[in-house]
């Protein structure tokens, strides 16, 4: 096998070098991009945008890596097959006295080796460059390179898909490219918002294994379905099913765009809103009409100037600013699962950039000129290193930072922190939000602890203080509306979905008006506005018809905090077309071509689970042998069976025409 690896390396040398050059250009371009930007920042020519401050996350490197890995991988895989496109050259290769598996591995080891060096080496150098202190003026964690790593891995999926495209002997030329559909899904796996690291990794590896199995099988049978080992057939079927699914989805999406009513929600939705004078109105949205505003009795709000229903723009002018505080810390965490947020931009001085670094819970400063970390700022003040002791800042807001028991303000120019507010006794801060009533001026901060909600000024003075949802436990979120009079606010306590559903949608929305002089002076309970969300609108039912039933299993793979509910009604709707159309069609075809019982059963289950894409894959993958008339029983029989399926007769030997010359061959050796 070493010989084959060497031969493959030598054969694809040009492509390898080209790939290496292209990736190096990408990396150098990204590096230069960052260097130029930092120079401009140093000269004061440019302001900072948070995300691109870490070049490992820049749009250029991610988009470039994504496109290049996909294209290079696919071209490399395809080329390795295309090199032996001549029938006799492929015969020469296959006639080597080595097993087909060894030929497969010879190609794959060489190909992946080329890929790893040509694509991986420049990328690794880039990440290492970013990781060395003094190169990048932003926090660096090795885990930040994960996005690049996923794209690199997706390129491997496209490598196998490219090989499969080259290998596959199929009647429909388009079906040869279906493997790319699976590779595309593997690429998408790295962007699923809720997935954790191991989920992404497992999903990608499973997908790559399926494609690799399909390619391995293809080497055994020279691209046909029939002569493959079972594992290859499984891989090929799975690949083509996913690919067919992708194509079907695209076709349906295009068709559906012709019928917008199907996709768009015609439901109407009502919300409570408040104007600056503290009056509550209902806003009715949806149904592809402009929103309507009515008061609590149902009378439409009339604009005095026009005499008609008030328009959205005018209402917005009258509406008050409302901010929201999440009191469930888990949800407010910056550690989103995918892609994770490692840090966020805090402030910049002329010579230093300050970030909030999630890992340490502190503010970190990087000198713009030397690009080194100069120290960190925590609740206890400035420290030269990243630890500094003391509490973590839990989350940054726009102007303040919170710990569990206090709110701080920072002065990065002087590298100092100032306590804005401290909780009493044993309270912990559940949430806090900075409020900006007019643009960039920081007006207030609202703090919610378990017992009280307070409004603070930027100096830390308490404007008002009120008990926190004593009668409404587990509400989890409070909204604060700021009314015309300074210091006067309305607090909204709205019930969350889960408990509301459990209580039969009867939980009220509680509103409390409060100001600095009187304290709490008015409160009201408002009924739940919308009927239980129709879980199965027509839209959902129509879409369910098109979903292959097996996809519903994905509901459980997505690991959300609440155990997910399986929408059994929609699952049944998905199973219906499979059971009524695809399974009978598949069974009919299987019977027509006399599959054995096990095969028929297997394919029936497959059609039930995979629906239309499964059926398309079934058509594409099977080689449908022609049928001719049996000379014995006059029924149609497959040409690939020795005995007739109906009467067991053999095929008739060829007709003799009287000119046959047959004699036994015996050696008379010299």
């Amino acid at each position: 096998m070493k010989i084959l690896i060497r031969k493959e390396l030598r054969e694809n040398l040009k492509l390898a070098v080209l790939g290496f050059v292209v990736f190096t250009v990408l990396v150098v371009w990204s590096w230069r991009d960052y260097a130029v930007m930092m120079k401009d920042v140093l000269l004061g020519l440019r302001s900072l945008e948070g995300f691109r401050l870490q070049p490992v996350h820049s749009g250029l490197i991610l988009a470039g890596t994504g496109w290049l890995c996909v294209i290079f991988g696919a071209v490399l895989g395809w080329m390795q097959i295309f090199n032996e496109r001549h029938r006799d050259l492929w015969a020469f290769l296959v006639h080597r006295p080595v097993s087909r598996t060894q030929i497969f591995f010879g190609k794959v080891i060489a190909g992946l080796g080329i890929y790893i060096v040509a694509a991986g080496l420049p990328l690794v150098c880039f990440v290492v460059w970013a990781g060395i202190p003094g190169h990048v003026a932003a926090p660096f964690q090795w885990a930040m390179a994960l996005q690049i790593a996923w794209l690199f891995l997706a390129g491997i999926a496209f490598y196998f898909a490219g090989m499969l495209t080259g290998l596959r002997q199929a009647r429909w030329y388009a079906s040869r490219t279906f493997g790319l559909g699976l590779a595309f899904m593997i690429l998408l796996a790295n962007a699923v918002p809720n997935w954790r690291f191991w989920q992404i990794l497992v999903a990608m590896l499973i997908g790559i294994a399926i494609l690799a199995a399909a390619v391995w099988g293809g080497f055994h049978s020279d691209g046909h379905y029939k002569g493959q080992p079972a594992l290859g057939k499984l891989g090929l079927t799975a690949s083509i099913t996913v690919g067919a699914g992708v194509v079907a989805f695209i076709v349906f999406a295009l068709l559906a765009s012709l019928f917008p009513n199907l996709l768009f929600n015609n439901d109407r939705w009502t919300m409570y809103v408040m104007t600056k004078d503290g009056t509550i109105y209902k806003e009715i949205q949806g149904g592809r009409r402009p929103p309507e505003f009515v008061d609590l009795d149902g009378k439409p709000l009339i604009d005095a100037k026009t005499g008609r229903m008030i328009e959205l723009e005018e209402f917005i002018r009258r509406a008050c600013n409302t901010i929201s505080i999440q009191m469930d810390r888990e949800k407010a965490s910056l550690r989103r699962r995918n892609p994770p947020i490692f840090f966020s931009f805090w402030q910049a001085t002329p010579d230093t950039i300050w970030y909030y670094w999630n890992r340490y819970g502190r503010l970190v400063g990087y000198d713009i000129a030397t690009r080194r970390c100069i120290g960190s700022l925590g609740p206890n003040g400035f420290a030269n290193d990243l630890s500094g002791g003391g509490d973590r800042f839990n989350a940054p807001d726009s102007r303040t930072l919170q710990t569990a028991t206090a709110i701080y303000q920072t002065d990065v120019q002087n590298r100092a922190t100032r306590t804005l507010f401290t909780t009493e006794k044993d309270e912990t801060i559940l949430g806090a939000t900075d409020v900006f009533l007019n643009g960039n001026d920081w007006d207030h901060t609202v703090v919610a602890t378990k017992r009280y909600i307070r409004l603070l000024t930027p100096e830390g003075k308490v404007v008002w203080k009120t008990p926190n949802e004593q009668d409404y436990p587990d509400y989890g979120r409070v909204r604060v509306s700021f009314l015309e009079k300074p210091g006067q606010c309305a607090l909204w306590f709205a019930p969350p979905y889960g408990p509301n559903k459990k209580a039969g949608w009867k939980l009220p929305t509680h509103v409390a008006w409060i100001d600095s002089e009187q304290g709490l002076f008015k409160s009201m309970d408002l009924p739940n506005l919308n009927p239980p969300w129709n879980q199965y609108p027509l839209r959902a039912k129509v879409l369910s018809l098109l979903i292959p039933p097996a996809l519903w299993a994905g509901v459980y793979w997505d690991d959300r905090p609440e155990p997910p509910e399986m929408p059994w009604k929609l699952v049944l709707i998905s199973l219906a077309p499979a059971a009524v159309v695809w399974v009978p069609l598949g069974l009919w075809l299987a019977r027509r071509h006399n599959f054995d019982v096990r095969a028929r059963l297997g394919w029936a289950v497959f059609h039930l689970l995979c629906g239309l894409p499964g059926f398309l894959a079934f058509l594409s993958v099977q080689e449908w042998p022609v049928r001719t008339l049996c000379s014995n029983c006059e029924k149609l029989r497959s040409i690939d069976r020795e005995k007739c399926e109906h009467c067991g007769a053999d095929f008739a030997p060829p007709e003799k025409n009287g000119t046959e010359i047959f004699a036994p061959l015996e050696i008379t050796r010299a």
Binding site: K7, D88, A91, D640, G658, T659, I661, F662, A663, L665
Partner: protein
Amino acid sequence: MNEQPVIQTRGLTKYFGARPAVYDLNLEVPRGCVLAFLGRNGSGKTTTIRMLLGLLEPTRGEGSILGHDIRALPPEARARIGYLTEEHQLYGWMSVQECGGFQSQFYPRWNEKIFRGVIGHFSLKPAARVKDLSRGERAGLCLGLMLAPEPELLILDDPAMGLDPVAHRSLVESMIYLTRRSDRTIFFSSHQLADVERVADYIAILDRSVLRACCSLETFRNSVRQVRLQFPGAPPPAPKIPGLLQAFRTEGELRLVCVHYNEAVERALRTLAPAQMEQMPISLEEAFLSYLGERGEKSFILSETEVQP
């Protein structure tokens, strides 16, 4: 010597779509012989060879080569089979030397002297790239690559195609040389009837996907007879005798080429009342041409379109 044939097929059939390329082939090739596989273009020779080597999945039927099932040829069997394709395809970027190096690492029994000998005979420079070689030089290289591992069974698919006369002669000489080993078998398909006459022990003839003849060269020659009947006037049309291959009608003469000529056939011919009837000798080449051609009365190409002056 009752050992197993090196190649054996039973009912081997291949359909491409609805068209049979090879139909119900039953063939046995004994060890140590030279068998020529004949047939017109498209009669199924290459398809058969590719099926025998496990490069093409048969539609139905079985075959074995060196005792192994053709659908699952293990590497040990492949190491003993030499295969020469008609296009003499190799990797264009390799040099002659590299080809030899590449090939030699696959076969434990590699005879470098043979390889050098063949390369030298065709005057190939070791550093020349395959893509710069002519057709004949490439054939020589492929021949060297095939012969050096000293295979027991050689399968050659139209090896003389496209070769210049010198390369062609070298090829035939190599085939004769190979018969030195009595356990070595050669199975080749060819259009060169002269080569077949020189080299083959046995022939197998495919006629439109069906095997119509499989016998020794001697038997074939003895089975095909040419009979000339002379008539005073225009000769009658050829009679429907079984085994009639071709009939030529010219002025006053009816010439028939047929197989299995016996007394019954002779009597049938006499009923036509010819003035004279005699058997004429026929060369092997003419016999092949008659066997391979269309059955029945033969007209020359373009003879109908000729404008009478």
